[in-house]
Amino acid sequence: MRFIEEFRDGSVARQVAAQIAAEASADREYKIMEFCGGHTHSLCRYGLIELLPKNVEMIHGPGCPVCVLPIGRLDQAIALARQPNVMLCAYGDMMRVPGKDRVSLMRARAQGANVKMVFGANDALKLARANPDKQVVFFAIGFETTTPPTALAVKTAQAEGLENFTVFVNHVLTPSAIEAILGSPEAQEGRIRVDGFVGPGHVSTIIGTQPYDRFARDWKKPIAVSGFEPLDLLQSILMIVRQLNDGRHEVENQYSRAVNSVGNLKAQRLTEETMELRPSFEWRGLGTLQASALKLRPEFAKWDAEARFTMPYEAVADHKACACGDILKGLKKPTDCKIFATACTPESPIGSCMVSPEGSCAAYYLYGRHRTSPTPEPERRTA
């Protein structure tokens, strides 16, 4: 496959990894957070973490929309789906995340709730047109990448006068999460140390690289906005190591084949026209963050599920044994969680990080279990 395989060349990857090892100075540690769950998966899928020298540590960030959505918001969606005449449309990743009492959308559906799995906002629009007698609600989650399609769906519904379509908006903002990590008490106390960030490339196709300038300037953190293939990631890590060695802190764009500094202005305009900042929003792991999420503007109240339906919010604490919160903050690795791969598995997940294809627990479980598994493989026994 052209334009993909070039970025998955193992021998080039090992050369870049060797370069990182050569340039990373042995007398210091490099703690680099890849914000995005998609990056965490690439790191695990291609075994990149093992290619890196020991003193270059990747800290997995909270960039997984399914993971950071708190149980309370999910429960609101489940309650909506149980209302008579409502058809709730959700992304596939969301279906198996357990809510209160471990009831997921999937389980609610089996119990009679009307839940449809969709690939995007546009599918939900189609369902609304096809089912005029139903109230079709799109359960909109995601960072800046999935926000414009939601905005477009709302605008389309407005243009068509589609009255049986609403959106339950849970869109969140990447810079707010980075800010929260850097300003967290754990970071102040030195329990979390992040020297630099691998920036989420897909988010930057929408917002550009500019929103990160302040982290480089004010927090003095090097940032490399990165693509998702293994060579992209290794190159981004090398860029950050070099910045740290030089004492620089800049926003660099590794993913220049898709990202520019200003982003997709049309998409930004769509979001701006339809949505505004929420005063605050609860994130799983990161807590309640000011100005960190979006909601529909009042003029679009007709398409806003939160305005059209009664949706009481009840904050629900995570399962006691689940370390998702600490993992999302970068305080713990999935393998530090007591129930990782024992009580919590993709088949029977307890925390959201084990469910989502972007969750770091799922990445560790799916790709790396043979490395951490208690029984050594025969290959290793003979090695």
Partner: protein
């Protein structure tokens, strides 16, 4: 001797399935006579009984049953009818057996166009004829509108293992054995999904749906002791190998580079964010054979039209954890785990 034709008017194919088509009266008899029996035409059905009477074959009997609920009903490379024949024949064939007879049970939803039903039945008849396996008995039921989704089909198959052939079984994989696949992975699932999502590519991706029993016959001729034979349908190659790892108490080491995947399937999977090794096949098999049998089985597979792209993709290893490991083209290794959740619902 038959008396006069009880159905002077021909079945109106512009009509739709009605509840009376399943109530056992004359309307149903006409549907069975003019649609099903006319298409499936064979001497067993000609007896017009509720069962077929056949001679017992020599050898071990094999029996299987499978329900088909694929959505959409019509897809590039086949429809639910051809799939219902291929799938069940393949389940028989994977015991190293020769399929002999099929039965088919239809659950029709009120309002389903009869013309569509005819397309399904004709595809089924054609698939059965090409395979040389008659549909010898059947059943038709109709459910009210909204209680089904057009048409569901269940087929049952009976076959026989040729004398001298040891039945392959999922619990017979041994460390050192070689894993062979008969062609490219993921075609069926991607054909269905791209149709469902309205995705189009430079080349149309067609389902690989096909009956594999003649390929199996060639394989057991050169090697009567194939350890495991499976058609990697739902969950694809990865899930099937996990099942075998669990049944046999072994692990696998696969070579990603060696596993055939068509470029357009790989591209579609990349776009949809899925892994072709987890995507269903309906016309491919995987065989696990002793190392000394590998070359001759692979040669027999490659000599068959349905096995031209066969390849050796990995080996069975000792592993108490039963992990299916993949040596990636990139140069690392990762696990191919069981599929969790619904990646592609209603693929067959």
């Amino acid at each position: 001797m038959r008396t006069r034709n009880p159905f002077p008017k021909k079945l109106d194919l512009t009509g739709r399935v009605e509840l009376t088509h399943g109530t056992g009266g004359k309307v149903m008899a006409q549907l069975v006579e003019q649609l099903f029996a006319a298409a499936f035409d064979n001497r067993y059905l000609a007896q017009r009984n509720d069962q077929a009477v056949v001679e017992p074959p020599v050898g071990k009997l094999v029996m299987t049953t499978d329900g088909y609920v694929v959505s959409p009903i019509f897809f590039a490379g086949g429809n639910i009818g051809s799939l219902a024949v291929h799938g069940t024949i393949n389940d028989i064939a994977m015991a190293g057996a020769r399929p002999l007879y099929l039965s088919s049970a239809f659950i029709l939803e009120e309002g389903f166009p009869l013309a569509d039903l005819k397309r399904v039945v004709d595809a089924m008849a054609k698939a059965a004829m090409q395979a040389g396996v008659p549909i010898v008995t059947g059943d038709t039921k109709v459910v009210e509108r909204g209680k089904g989704d057009g048409v569901f089909i269940t087929t049952t198959g009976v076959g026989v293992i040729p004398v001298g052939v040891t039945a392959p079984s999922g619990d017979r994989a041994k460390p050192g054995d070689v894993v062979l696949v008969s062609g490219s992975m993921g075609d069926h699932g991607v054909a269905i999904l791209s149709q469902r999502e309205g995705l189009s590519f430079e080349t149309t991706i067609e389902s690989d749906s096909a009956s594999l029993h003649t390929l199996v016959a060639d394989m057991v001729t050169v090697c009567p002791d194939i350890h495991v034979l499976r058609d990697p349908t739902r969950g694809g190659l990865a899930t099937t190998l996990n099942e075998i790892a669990w049944q046999s108490g072994v692990g696998f080491k696969l070579e990603e580079r060696a596993i055939p995947v068509k470029p357009q399937v790989a591209a579609a999977c990349e776009l949809l964010g899925i892994d072709p090794l987890y995507v269903a096949n309906e016309g491919k098999l995987l065989a696990i054979v002793a190392p000394h049998d590998a070359d001759k089985v692979l040669a027999a597979m490659k000599a068959h039209p349905l096995g031209r792209d066969s390849a050796r993709v990995g080996t069975v290893i000792e592993d108490e954890n039963g992990f299916v490991q993949l040596e990636t083209s990139f140069g690392g290794s990762r696990i191919l785990d069981w599929l969790a959740g619904e990646q592609l619902p209603r693929i067959c």
